[in-house]
Structures are given as structure tokens and as C-alpha cells.
Symmetry: C2
Subunit: 418 residues, 2 copies
């Protein structure tokens, strides 16, 4: 079977199964999720054996220790995956929800009902937990899913997949709800992206290179999850104790993730005091600061920022700092250099809080809270399949609802158009 | 200036203006829409002169009379365009609407606020009224719009555009809110579709060829509006008088549009009686029937349908008719041959009505009403920029809300992540 034939078979199976999965009862979906969770834990030795093969190959291929780390499954990570499925089972089923209903003058009742998107392709890199997370979220939201993981994790992914598929079968979920692409041939991604008659949506999860490749080559709609160049703006009227905690948390609590702050903007009126305070805390935490001219004149030890720094996603203990004259300059800087991901203002001023909420059109905009809350779990979605930085379909953290669309339903009693 | 340079200049202007347009007050937008409406009527002679040039060229190029008809502007069509803008001015502004707000255990208030998509490109064919409709809807929803109409209507479109831009300027709308691509060079569409850094969404409006070309060549997300192969299923328990009116209305009232019925499905138990009744009405209205074997055995004069007929969008007084054994066979036929556009059931049976609503995942699903209601105005959206047949972002008729997306807004009082 050629790569194209394998993918076509998978995609056709998904399309044919998708209406059945869309109409599956919540009860069956939840039972399958819970059975998957139990089976993952029960067969953890089997999964770890498959994972060991991937790790061995990874070492031969001299993957970085960070990549080996992302690849490695332990009893703890397997338990986390299982618990994740149990949480998804506990969430409300979005399918069939009627979000609104209204009456027309001619007596028609018109409503909007959530339905699954249909067939979703997930293209991801080395983390095997995506296999479980994406599989579980797509099943719960009534979608068929086609998973294409990185070649480094192929044995782990196949082992996990077989356990999930077996659990589905035992609970009466039709075959084809969750499928994996077994070939590690690189052409498989391109083939997948060409099957627009069978796949409704592609979600790439991974580095910027992968996402760009998918976006440029797909004939299927793509929800992108690009970089997060997130800002915190400390306004003149900010409570500086609060600002200190937020600016510290946003940078240091987990610097390697997309909702960590990369640029701190500080109002000129409080720059001297605030930057002196922050400098000590950042220095003790090992944060390297790259400052604008004014920052450098306040903090003599600090290195100057280059033009490139303002649009850099460091994903590391590095921070660019800029002093601004007012909220307008802060908003202008964010709109020029930001990536539409997450921005926060720390302020005591009512008008500036409301202006920031209204005028900054990033996917998450916060007042007096850390950028690290831009996350499906933290915002209360109960789950997260990614954070969209495209404005089409979903913007920001995506949960189960964002894996659905809405159809119009109409109840009439014989209405015709005049 | 090359074609690429012209498009790049337009797209950059739109991107730079988009945040200003997003934050424009409802009042200014409405005043601009009303001024545009008045100006179109005031300058109707000027518009008709430009339009006459297009028509003359069209005749030289031997365009079909249907195309000339779509191209032609009269006092009445200009008044209709102006009235359309006045209606849009009267609709609620979707921008800034907070659709939901909830509280997290840590005290954060989290909400979702509607914001404009940003920059929208509309690619359309010969109808100059799209220039007005799309321009008005995009302005009201706070988006910048780049219009690329068909070369046959270029003089009409430029004339309309200049009037609209002038009205915007007089009401204080920043330059660049509504722009038109002036070059008629065919490469302009491809260039436009490559500017993914400046344009957020492409909406093609026109025939299937145009839409397919755009979808295949765009690096920007596209909301497609493919064909409508719409079905009416007359169930065993249908009130046959009601079924007759609906089946007649869905086919005959305006056969050339996408929400007209193309295939009639009839339950075997009522097929003989119902088809005999319908046959006379259809014949008198000039409808040609293409039937399945059972239909042909009931209606001897009727021609047999080929396999291709079941997926054909006739857009004409032609109808394919199939007798089915039950609702399952009807749903199966729709899912196999339908285009996810609009389907209706006529039934007196509660369970079948609910099953049809639940199990048919087309963009509009109706019980006991004509498919012709699948329309933004008829369903109560107040306006319509198109009918999406892709499930991403919007599915079915698209109004002002579908030209927005939602950001997360978060009000805190110092929360950080542990």
C-alpha cells in the first residue's frame, strides 16, 4: 500500500464513520473514555516498553535531551494522561446544545445547535500525550480524528492508539473514530493536507516550523497556534506590589510556554522605582534583561535590546523591557510587535483598564492578572486542545466547544416563502 | 506600480487601519452607512453612466444576457442597495458584545467579547451590488475590507466605491476601511491570496469555479459557499396538503438559487398518491422530473434519473425524485449525495422530526417548512454576506455576528499562577 493509499483509506473511513460518531450518545462516549483511562494504566508496562524503543532510537539519532525528555513516558505521565481522559468524561457534552432559539414573525422557531466539525486531523511532534489528549477531546466532541504524530514517538503512539481503539470497540464506538497514521514517511503530511474532501479541519501542534509548513501546504482549513509574544504593561497607577508579583509570575513561573511574558512595558512615571525593584528579583531568579535606552539608563548593568528583541519569543529566562510614555504607546507597541496571543495591564485606573480590554485585540486580554492564565483549564474550559492565534473559528484557548460548529434548526408548521 | 505592489499597498493600509476601524464607535459607523446610502441615490446618474460603459464592453465581449442582466444597475437596484445599507445601520453592532461571563474559583472574572476579524478580502464576480453589501456589512462589523470584483463590472464598482469612500471620509471613518482593487489583471487574485500576513479571511462569492480556484490557491483562511443540493423528505405521516405546498415552493418559487430543492425524497407508503398530485402541479409549472425506478413506474411519462442526477445542482426547473423505504434511507441518501446546505422533512411524526433535526448535519435543517427559508434575512439575522458550507467558523447563513470572532477578557485583582 502506498502512502497515498494508506491515507486515503484512513480518511475515507473517518468520513464514513463521522455521522455515526456525531450521533453517538454521551453515555457511550463517556464509558469509552473511562475504559481508555483504565486500560492505559493497566497496560502501562506495555506502553513503557514501546516507549523505550523510541527513546533508544532517539538516542541513536542524537536527539537533544529536551526532546528525549518530551518523549519519555513514566508511570506518572501515563497516570496524568489517564486522569486527563477521566476529566474529559466528566465535562458536559457540547454536541446537541441549542445555544439560542428565537421566533420569527411567520411563526418559525429558529435555533442554533452545536454539532461536531466532522473529521479532524491533528499533526504533532514528539509528545505522545497528544495522542491521548486529542483522541479523547475529539471523541467527546463527536468528531472522528486522524492522528499523525512525530516519527520519534511512533512506537509509543501506536501502542497507546491500540489500547484506545480496543477500549472504544468494547464500548460499542464504531470503528474509525480514532485513527493513527502508521507510516513515518514524511510525504504523509502532504498527502493528509490534500484530502479536503474527507477532512474538515487540521490542527497542527508543535514548533513554528511545523505550523508554517502545514499552513502553507494545506487545502484543508487550519487552526494555527503560532508563537506567544506576550506583554505585561505596568501603568502609572498600578499597585506596584501587585505589579511585581504579576510581572514575576508571568516571566518566571514557567518561562518555556507560550503564555509566558516576553516583554515588560513600564509607564515612565513609575519606571525608576518599579524597575529597580524588579531587577533584584529577576536577577535572583536568573532572568536576563534586554532593555530599551531608558531602561538601560535606569539599570546600568542591563544590556540594550535590539529591534529583533521586541518580536522575539524567548521561551526562556530572558525578558525585553521598554519604558513607555502612556497607555497609547503601550497599545501601539503591542499591536506592532505582539503576536495576538495574550496581554495584561496592571493598573488602578478604571478608564485605562477598560481601554486596554476594549482596544487590545489579542486572544486573551487581562487586567491585574498574570498572562499565565491564558490556558483552557485556567479559564474554565475544562480542557484544551490548543491556543488559536488565528481569528477564524476559534481565538485563544480551545476547549470542547471550539471543536464544534453550529447548524441552524427550524421548526415550522407548513411555512412557505411568498 | 506592479500588480503585486498595488495589492501590497492596499493590504498594508488595511492592516494598519484595522485596529482603528475595530474601535470605531457604533455612532460613526451608522452615520457613515446612512451617508453612503443617501450619496448612492444622489449620484445615481453618475453610477449609471459608469455602469453603461461596463454594459457596452460586456456586449462587445458577447457576455450572456443573464450576465448582462446581473451587471445592469437601474434606479431601482440602486435604491435597493441604499436601503440595504440603511437596514445594516439599523442592526445592533456586534462589536464589543460580551456573550458570556463567568467567575473562576480564584476570583477571576472571565468573559468572551466579540471583536472584528480584522481584514477581510471579498472576491466576487459580476454583481456590483456586492460592492455595497459587503462594504456595508464589513464596516458595521468593524472590519477593513478589500474588494476584488469581476473585471466586467470594474467601472461600476469604482464609481460606487468612490461614493462610499467619500461618505466615510465625511463622517470621520479613517482612510482604508473600504478599498477596492483597481487593476483588472487576473494575477491580482493570486497575489491577494498570498498576503496572509495582512489579510485574515477571504470570502469568495460567485460560481463554483471561482470558489474552487480561491480555496485551492489561498494561504489565507477561506469561508466557502459551495453548491446547494437541497432535499425535501416527505415522510409517511406527512400532511400531504402541507407537503404539496412545501415541495412546490421549495422547487418553483425561485429555482435559480442555492436554497431551492433539487431532490425530492418520498416515503414509499405515500409515494403513489403524493407523486400523482405533485406531478400535475409541477407539470403546469414547467418542472422537468427525473425519477428513480419506482418514481418512473408511478409516473409513466417521467424520464429516469442517472447516478449523476442525485448530486446535481440544477438551479433550474428540474427535479430529481426518489422513493425511499423509511427515514433511515432518506438520511442516508442525503448524507451520500447532499452538499451540507439545507434539508427539510415534512412529517406528522414527533420522533422522526426530532431524528431528522438531530441526525442531519447540514447547515440548515427544517421541519415542516420550505428550504427557501435558509437565508440570513428569513432566519432573522438581519443581513447576509453569504451562506457557508464549510463547518469552520460559520456554517449556513452568515450575518454580522459571523464577521466577528471572540476574545477572552479577564478581570483580576492581582491573581498569579501557583
Amino acid at each position: 500500500m502506498t502512502v497515498r493509499e494508506e491515507l486515503l483509506r484512513i480518511a475515507k473511513t473517518a468520513r464514513e464513520t463521522s455521522l455515526k460518531i456525531a450521533n453517538l450518545s454521551t453515555d457511550i462516549k463517556n464509558k469509552a473514555l473511562l475504559r481508555m483511562a483504565d486500560a492505559l494504566e493497566k497496560h502501562s508496562t506495555h506502553i513503557k516498553q514501546a516507549n523505550a524503543k523510541d527513546i533508544e532510537k532517539g538516542r541513536e539519532k542524537k536527539l537533544s535531551s529536551a526532546m528525549i525528555d518530551r518523549l519519555t513516558l513514566t508511570d506518572r505521565t501515563i497516570k496524568n494522561m489517564a486522569d486527563g481522559l477521566r476529566e474529559v468524561a466528566g465535562l458536559p457534552d457540547p454536541v446537541g446544545e441549542v445555544t439560542r432559539m428565537w421566533r420569527r414573525p411567520n411563526g418559525l422557531w429558529v435555533g442554533r445547535m452545536r454539532i461536531p466539525i466532522g473529521v479532524i486531523g491533528i499533526i504533532y511532534e514528539s509528545r505522545p500525550n497528544v495522542t491521548v489528549d486529542a483522541g479523547g477531546l475529539c471523541l467527546k466532541s463527536g468528531n472522528c480524528v486522524i492522528l499523525r504524530g512525530g516519527s520519534e514517538a511512533i512506537n509509543s503512539n501506536i501502542s497507546i492508539m491500540e489500547i484506545m481503539v480496543d477500549a472504544c470497540r468494547k464500548e460499542g464506538v464504531p470503528e474509525g473514530a480514532i485513527q493513527i497514521v502508521r507510516t513515518t514517511d514524511r510525504s504523509a503530511v502532504l498527502e493528509l493536507l490534500s484530502l479536503e474532501d474527507f477532512i474538515d479541519l487540521i490542527i497542527p501542534r508543535g514548533g513554528e516550523g511545523l505550523i508554517r509548513f502545514v499552513a502553507e501546504n494545506s487545502r484543508i482549513p487550519v487552526i494555527k497556534h503560532y508563537k506567544g509574544v506576550c506583554h505585561v504593561f505596568v501603568d502609572e497607577s498600578a499597585d506596584l506590589d501587585m505589579a511585581e508579583e504579576i510581572a514575576f509570575n508571568a516571566k518566571v513561573q514557567r518561562p518555556g510556554v507560550c503564555n509566558a511574558m516576553e516583554t515588560l512595558l513600564v509607564h515612565r512615571a513609575v519606571a525608576e522605582e518599579f524597575l529597580q525593584r524588579m531587577y533584584r528579583r529577576y536577577r535572583d531568579a536568573g532572568v536576563e534583561i534586554r532593555g530599551c535606552k531608558e531602561t538601560v539608563s535606569i539599570l546600568k548593568e542591563v544590556k540594550g535590546a535590539s529591534e529583533e528583541d521586541w518580536s522575539e519569543e524567548y521561551l526562556d529566562l530572558i525578558l525585553s523591557v521598554k519604558v513607555v510614555g502612556d497607555i497609547d504607546e503601550a497599545i501601539h507597541h503591542i499591536s506592532r510587535y505582539g503576536s495576538l496571543h495574550t496581554e495584561a495591564i496592571v493598573t488602578g485606573d478604571y478608564r485605562n483598564a477598560q481601554r486596554f480590554i476594549k482596544e487590545v485585540n489579542s486572544s486573551t486580554v487581562l487586567v491585574n492578572a498574570s498572562t499565565r492564565f491564558s490556558d483552557g483549564f485556567q479559564l474554565g474550559l475544562g480542557a484544551e486542545i490548543g491556543i488559536s492565534t488565528t481569528k477564524i473559528h476559534a481565538f485563544g484557548p480551545m476547549g470542547l466547544e471550539e471543536l464544534t460548529t453550529q447548524k441552524f434548526i427550524v421548526y415550522g408548521d407548513g411555512q412557505i416563502r411568498e
